[in-house]
Amino acid sequence: MADVPRIVVALDPSVSEASAFDVLRYFGDLDADLAGVFIEDSNLLSHARSSLAREIDVHGARDFAIESLERQLHARSAEMRRYFESLARAMRGHHSFHVARGEVAAEIERVAANCELLVIGVARAHRGLRARWGADVHRLTAVGASTTVFTRDSRSSNAIVTAVVRSIEDVAAVGPTALRVARTSHAPLRVLVVADGADAIAQTRDAIASALAGFERAVRYDVIADRTSATLERAVGAQEGCTLVLAAGEADAELLRSLLEETTWNVVLVRSAVV
């Protein structure tokens, strides 16, 4: 980890609420370089270049002119900048904000190089359409940041924090991050221990309990059979708001894709804790 950690926050036009930036509060005590990026989606721009493209909104359907899109992007980026800077001023360290234009996943890969913490804004459901990240999510899991936060909006920020641990190795990454998020968001904390043999369960549970020692509230522990999206959904229940903290692995792209498509949770993928 660098002496001064680097935090990158990336949003694109599909994220309608600037409050997705709110997760920065979890890391407000870090003396970090903070970079905000608003990515003007080239996919949208390519739509706008087609004279056949039609934009449909509450006012009706009309030609999707590039000038109109430019105006919308400009307004949205200005809004994001204001909100980002209002948060960043309350934090320590330097901060900057810029607007990039291109394919979203590629731009995120570019701006996120060498960052310790990557925050990616993800729309809750894209107004019913599938989440943007379907095919590209594996690229984001491989960015290499210590921690990647897929944040939805403020509704998810203060909800229960659920840490998922499979092994003692996971505890070092997941434990401190889950503790930090729960404390800073004044949220209850729950631990899901993935079954991997009776002895391992007990050891893992003891390890995570030790890592969470000092947490001000009671922590609930449960055991789950595996770490699939369906299992996690069942275990977490129908909680509307949840911040799921889990260790990142090479094979996590599919889990992440389904979590982003099927739930509205914040997802925190941790390689190593940024504390």
Binding site: R49, E55, A75, H126, G128
Partner: protein, 812 residues
């Protein structure tokens, strides 16, 4: 000559109070409660007014200021009234239908405070219970269920139309404002050239599909607010359900507790409804100090109880004295607080007035203070007529305040108002305010004086003991008490009466105590009382000293020896606030032939008041009636108060003026060793005047300063009963150095002043020639003869002129 007039004996000049009549050595032995002296009539009226029910039986207590009416009325009420249930507690509550019109509610005595605490407890409990209910797994699951339904509905719809678009070769993507749709081929948006290169059928199909999907998307976008609304409605309904499960039990419990207060039962139902509609108010975190959180806290005030009147600790029905009876202090007021730069108010900022506090009991108000407060008298009358307290701000009445305010419910009024004021105020109100008689039907007229009987003197002693005890003064021994009783008579200027104006007595007791303390004595003695009286006079008599100095230095001419024709010493009283003193004045008379006019120079110069003028006219009538039965009063006389540059009022100088006139007519000198006071009637009788003590002492002081030389004062005989002269005057009389005469007639006065007999008509109707009256009559007869002669000459001249004129006419 009239019977010889002897000077009054010293004992007649001061009526002592015998200390032996008091059954105690010092006032410390008296422990009975305060007695009200000599106010039987007023107390009977008070009792009647208090017991009398019905509209308008309020009371007006009349009396001189300083008579302790307030204390007497208060003590009377406290002794008389017991604790009935008529006095109710009153509260103001939020009106959930219209917050500008707070609701009033009454409770049994002592229950308002309890209700306030119960409501505060309810609010505190709900602030814990409601967030807990909303934090419960049950509620969260229910909310999630609703959200998932909503999102699932959206997702199903969105993915269906997205799939349909993709199947038809169209791309569908969200934009900041809505959706964008464009033809797609191999994952790329078709350029215009690529699209034009498509077969016509494909282009037409794509266009039709885009049109169809666009229309469905537009309708979907239009429906979205309705979907959101449905979701919000479901969540709101769930919140009501969860909140009600928490609220219903404590509210119902309170309804049982306060079930006999029907207003409160309705209010509690309204509270329940309001909590259900505003459950978010109970979820504001205490950790947050943002303006938003503070605003929520402010909104929770709506469940507070504003206790306006609380009788939980009252031993009797309310007895309230309002010392500053402004409109606001009488009717209550609404306060404001600054919030985000604006002045705001609510029902918790309503403050009670004296009428609220006295409701169910008695309100005592000083009438004069009430009348000088703008709108206060009108406001009180309105409240009494309407039998309700309707809060009206003076600022709003006068359109001075434009900020939003409250119109609280009127509170039913059942109060007996007792106004305390001077008689003049009572008579003015009775004469000029037609409402007064309707509202204040009972008057309690307090006596200013009581008879100085032995029994009353003893009661006076007990009163002195009470005051000494109340004021925490040292005990007074019986001689000191007797001296205070004597002072009570002197204050009135009447040896046979005692003042009931306790302020004077209380002040004297306090000041006597002061000198006692100075002397280090354990008990107040007569010397301390004497010292207090002397010191008080000394503090006030600077002007008296200056005036006497002017006489002694002959700047003001007053003779106190020898005899002068047509000149007499009169006496007047100068009142300076609480202090009065006598002042000698030289009165002179001149006479000449005339037609019966007596010129009052004071009147001619507009320095004389109407009563003085009346006195002069009476004396002229007396002269004519006594001396001019058979002849016209052929006199022109002038009377004047020499060196008097201020006004002269009253008829107490008319005896002196008559004597000066008789002296001038008879050409007989009047002894200047004497001064005279008294008024005369047409028959020559001398009538009583005021200020006899001060007048005698005033002349005494002057004569003493020059050296007493058989000086004295003539006063009306009927004033002798009033004499309470200073000890030094009495001592001088006792030593034969100064004299006081009580006279009944002008004849007695003239004999004392001239040393000659006045004279009585003989059988022929003539006065003895060597008497004063004989000389007067002789002078008037001469004046009449001269005048007749003069008139005859004047008539002859007139007749000759007429004859000449007539003859001339005829000749001509």
């Amino acid at each position: 000559m009239a019977d010889r007039i002897d000077p009054l004996p010293a004992d007649a000049l001061y009526t002592r109070c015998d200390p032996a009549i008091f059954p105690f050595e010092t006032t410390a032995e008296l422990t009975q409660p305060n007695e009200v002296l000599g106010q039987t009539r007023a107390l009977r009226a008070l009792a009647f007014g208090i017991d009398m029910r019905g509209d308008g039986y309020n009371l007006f207590v009349l009396g001189r200021p300083g008579s302790h009416q307030l204390e007497i009325v208060r003590e009377f009420l406290e002794r008389r009234v017991e604790r009935p249930d008529s006095a109710r507690d009153w509260v103001y509550l939020n009106n959930f239908d219209d917050e500008r019109r707070p609701a009033a509610a009454s409770l049994a005595p002592g229950r308002a405070i309890r209700f306030k605490h119960d409501m505060a407890q309810l609010t505190d409990d709900l602030r814990v219970a409601i967030p807990a209910a909303f934090d419960s797994e049950h509620f969260r699951n229910k909310v999630s269920e609703i959200d998932r339904d909503f999102e699932e509905r959206q997702r199903v719809w969105g993915q269906a139309i997205e799939s349909e678009a993709n199947e038809n070769g169209l791309s569908l993507a969200p934009t900041p404002q809505g959706f964008v749709m464009a033809p797609l081929r191999d994952g790329q948006i078709l350029s215009d050239q690529q699209f034009e290169a498509l077969p016509a059928d494909d282009r037409q199909r794509i266009r039709e599909t885009m049109a169809s999907l666009s229309e469905r998307l537009r309708r979907h976008v239009e429906e979205m607010p309705q979907w959101h609304k449905e979701r919000r409605e479901r969540i709101r309904s769930l919140q009501r359900e969860v909140t009600d499960s928490v609220v219903v039990q404590p509210i119902e419990a309170m309804k049982v507790t306060y079930g006999d207060e029907t207003t409160l039962a309705r209010y509690l139902d309204a509270v329940r409804e309001d909590v259900l509609a505003n459950s978010q108010l109970f979820q504001a975190s205490e950790e947050r100090e943002s303006p938003f959180a503070m605003s929520l806290q402010m909104q929770l005030r709506r469940y507070q109880v504003n206790v306006l009147v609380d009788h939980s600790t009252a031993a009797t029905v309310p007895i309230v004295y309002e010392s500053n009876p402004s409109v606001q202090n009488m009717l209550g007021r609404t306060e404001y607080v600054a919030q985000f730069g604006a002045l705001v108010t609510d029902f918790t900022l309503i403050r009670p007035g004296a009428l609220h506090r006295a409701n169910g009991g008695y309100l005592i108000v000083d009438a004069q203070r009430l009348l000088v407060e703008p709108y206060a008298w009108q406001a009180l009358k309105r409240a009494l007529f309407a039998r309700e307290i309707r809060m009206e701000s003076l600022g709003q009445l006068m359109s001075l305040v434009s900020t939003a305010s409250l119109e609280p419910d009127a509170i039913p009024l059942d109060v007996k108002v007792i106004l305390i004021g001077e008689r003049q105020v009572y008579y003015l109100l009775a004469a000029f305010d037609p409402d007064f008689g309707d509202l204040f039907k009972v008057s309690a007229d307090f006596e200013d004086r009581i008879d100085r009987s032995v029994e009353n003197s003893q009661h006076y002693g007990a009163q002195i003991a009470s005051i000494a005890r109340r004021e925490k003064l040292r005990p007074f021994n019986r001689a000191a008490v007797a001296r205070v009783v004597e002072h009570g008579a002197r204050v009135l200027g009447d040896a046979g009466k005692l003042t009931t104006r306790l302020r004077d007595i209380t002040d004297l007791l306090r000041e006597s105590d002061y000198f006692c303390t100075q002397a280090g004595a354990p008990t107040v003695d007569v010397a301390h009382v004497e010292r207090a009286i002397t010191e008080r006079i000394s503090r006030l008599d600077r002007l008296r000293g200056e005036m006497q100095d002017e006489v002694l230095r002959h700047s003001v001419l007053i003779d106190t020896a020898g005899g002068v024709i047509g000149q007499v010493n009169g006496l007047s009283v100068i009142q300076l606030g609480e202090f009065a003193f006598g002042r000698p004045s030289r009165i002179t008379a001149t006479v000449r032939i005339g037609q019966g006019e007596i010129v009052d120079i004071e009147r001619e110069t507009e320095l004389g008041g109407p009563i003085h003028t009346k006195g002069v006219l009476i004396l002229s009538s007396y002269l004519a009636a006594r001396y001019c039965h058979r002849q016209p009063l052929s006199l022109r006389a002038s009377l004047v108060f020499e060196q008097s540059y201020g006004g002269v009022e009253g008829d107490s100088a008319s005896v002196a003026e008559t004597c000066a006139l008789l002296s001038a007519l008879s050409n007989i000198a009047i002894s200047q060793r004497f001064a005279v006071t008294g008024s005369v009637n047409q028959r020559g009788d001398v009538q009583v005047i005021g200020g006899a003590n001060e007048k005698i002492e005033g002349f005494f002081d002057l004569c003493k300063a020059r050296g007493l030389d058989g000086n004295g004062v003539l006063i009306p005989y009927d004033n002798v009963q009033h004499l309470m002269l200073r000890a030094d005057v009495v001592d001088a009389v006792r030593r034969g150095e100064f004299f006081v005469y009580g006279i009944r007639t002008i004849d007695e006065a003239i004999e004392l002043l001239t040393g000659l007999p006045a004279g009585v008509r003989d059988a022929n109707g003539a006065y003895p020639p060597d008497s004063v009256n004989g000389a007067v009559e002789r002078a008037l007869t001469e004046f009449a003869a001269v005048r007749r002669e003069y008139d005859a000459r004047g008539a002859a001249k007139t007749s000759d002129k007429a004859a000449h004129a007539h003859g001339g006419d005829r000749d001509g």
